[in-house]
């Protein structure tokens, strides 16, 4: 069964194929800031699959990632792209006994332009983590997974990109070692990884009507302390909140930070109130996820 199916276009002419083994050398890019990434099929982007470890453990899980190295000023989009754009999509070809999760999206950058258009963006060296799991009974000493990747990369204009990407790893029965060449990349993705707000996080949809609110307990908010916090709720499903409005946050006397947002006009509440909330005070940032997150492995 394929994960995040997307129609794969008929014309896969010179599809870029990058095969990354965990011990691959870091890319050295020549050409400077004018931008040198891209091919006709994958403009302004160098796409690849990278692994956090140098091998995959039989019966275990490997964190890997879709890496999109973008030219400066170009961006790709989150699973909820916002008012415009389209997220990257992967369609997998997997051997027996192998499953791949949905993308574990890092918290994107929220942007609202001069015309009120809201988008959620990733820029620079974009790393989108995924998990690969091998059955205990996986036969063979190597595992290869292939993704047909499609994405939209934009600056002023938008251009579609596509590539056929391969990840090939040795299979071992012991704990694999970290792939040092990719450690920095995964560290950057980790820095934007949202944490759970805890079981005491409370979501209120249309309570009162026309509002969505999120309560996070102070015990999870150590970095922010008790001062004034700026908040941005990023819903996975559009319609949960008005994404162009302010989302004010205030502390209650018993140490709960409540973030409120108007609901989106004329939108039925989506079945799942889920997404991210970015909280800032000064130079401190905390990132939370709320609600059920799509992360089920799929065959």
């Amino acid at each position: 069964m394929l994960v995040i199916a997307a129609a794969f276009a008929m014309m896969a002419t010179s599809a870029t194929s990058a095969s990354w083994q965990a011990s691959a050398q870091p890319v050295i890019r020549l050409g400077g800031a004018s931008g040198g990434f891209g091919t006709a099929d994958a403009p302004h982007t160098r796409p690849s699959l990278i692994s956090r470890t140098d091998a995959a453990q039989r019966g275990g899980a490997v964190e890997f990632a879709l890496r999109l190295q973008l030219d400066p000023e170009w961006h790709v989009y989150w699973v909820n792209p916002g008012d415009a754009g389209l997220p990257p999509k992967l369609r997998w070809t997997l051997p027996e006994g192998v499953a791949v999760s949905e993308i574990d999206w890092p918290v994107p950058r929220y942007q609202k332009d001069d015309h009120g258009l809201v988008t959620y963006l990733y820029e620079g060296d974009v790393v989108l983590p995924l998990t690969l799991t091998l059955d205990n009974g996986f036969a063979g000493d190597r595992v290869e997974v292939v993704a047909d990747a499609t994405w939209l990369v934009c600056r002023e204009a938008c251009l579609p990109g596509r590539a056929r990407l391969t990840l090939d790893l040795p299979v071992v029965d012991s704990t694999p070692v970290e792939a040092e060449a990719n450690a920095g990349l995964f560290a950057a993705a980790d820095a934007r990884r949202p944490v759970s707000g805890g079981t005491d996080t409370v979501r209120r949809v249309d309570d009162p009507p026309g509002r969505f609110s999120l309560d996070i307990h102070a015990s999870h908010l150590g970095v922010l302390g008790g001062g004034e916090v700026a908040a941005r709720i990023m819903p996975v499903d559009p319609g949960l909140v008005d994404e162009s409005a302010r989302h004010p946050a205030s502390w209650s006397v018993d140490g709960i930070l409540r973030i409120t947002a108007p609901r989106a006009d004329a939108a039925a509440a989506p079945p799942n109130a889920r997404g991210f909330v970015e909280l800032r005070r000064g130079e401190h940032t905390q990132l939370f996820r709320f609600g059920p997150q799509p992360a089920d492995p799929s065959h």
Binding site: A84, L86, G116, L152, E156, A157, C158, P160
Partner: protein, 214 residues
């Protein structure tokens, strides 16, 4: 009935038949910050010049169903539909059925998709665009009034001037033309419902596409 003209109430005020001092206001006559139209209310009138120099007002089409289709010829989502002649086919069918189809471009001068009237007419001929008219909104006034966010972005107005649908053209956000046939087409569904005198099922969907280049 009193009607206080706060920004959020402007649309309601404009449609209240009990106010003899107000007709459906043209763009500019109402609160300048009004943006967006609530489905089920009167679509604001507007006046734009088409690529042949003819001035059109939305109100001239009273009694007919009107489709507003925002476009930008260089946007990959627009190319998805125009590249395989899907959009042109829908334009042809709708206009043959008596629907007025207005294609609008709110790209500002210098921005992607902006063309002069002559360039538009060449493009219309080359790509067999079959709309009733292509209207140039380079100041973005009408786009902003309707809160047109993407290309494409679709609005359907019935013969009584009521907005019955706004949003995406279909339910499968992608730039791949192969997705068109299998998708649920919201535009076609809205036109069929209006034609049958029935309520439109999906009245508001999130449009997908490139941002309008105001």
């Amino acid at each position: 009935m009193k009607c206080r003209l706060f920004v959020t109430a402007a649309a309601l005020c404009a449609t209240a038949a009990v106010l003899p001092l107000f007709t459906t206001p043209a763009v500019g006559a109402e609160n300048a910050t009004a943006s967006g139209v609530t489905t089920g209310t009167s679509a604001p009138d507007f006046t734009l010049t088409d690529t042949n120099g003819t001035v059109h007002a939305l109100s001239e089409f009273a009694g007919k169903t009107v489709v507003l289709e925002w476009t930008n010829k260089d946007c990959p989502f627009v190319k998805k539909f125009y590249g395989v002649n899907a959009m042109q086919g829908w334009q042809e069918k709708a206009t043959a059925d008596g629907v007025v189809w207005l294609t609008l471009c709110s790209s500002a001068p210098g921005k992607q998709g902006h063309m002069s009237a002559d360039e538009w007419n060449d493009h219309i001929a080359e790509t067999d665009i079959a709309s009733t008219a292509v209207l140039m909104d380079e100041a973005g006034t009408v786009g902003r009034r309707y809160a047109a966010k993407t290309t494409p972005h679709i609005y359907v107005i019935d013969g009584e001037g009521v907005l019955r649908y706004q949003g995406a053209i279909d339910d499968t956000p992608s730039t791949d033309a192969a997705d068109i046939d299998g998708a649920t087409n919201y535009l076609a569904a809205a036109l069929a419902a209006i034609d049958a005198g029935e309520p439109v099922q999906e009245t508001d969907t999130r449009p997908y596409g490139c941002g309008v280049k105001y």
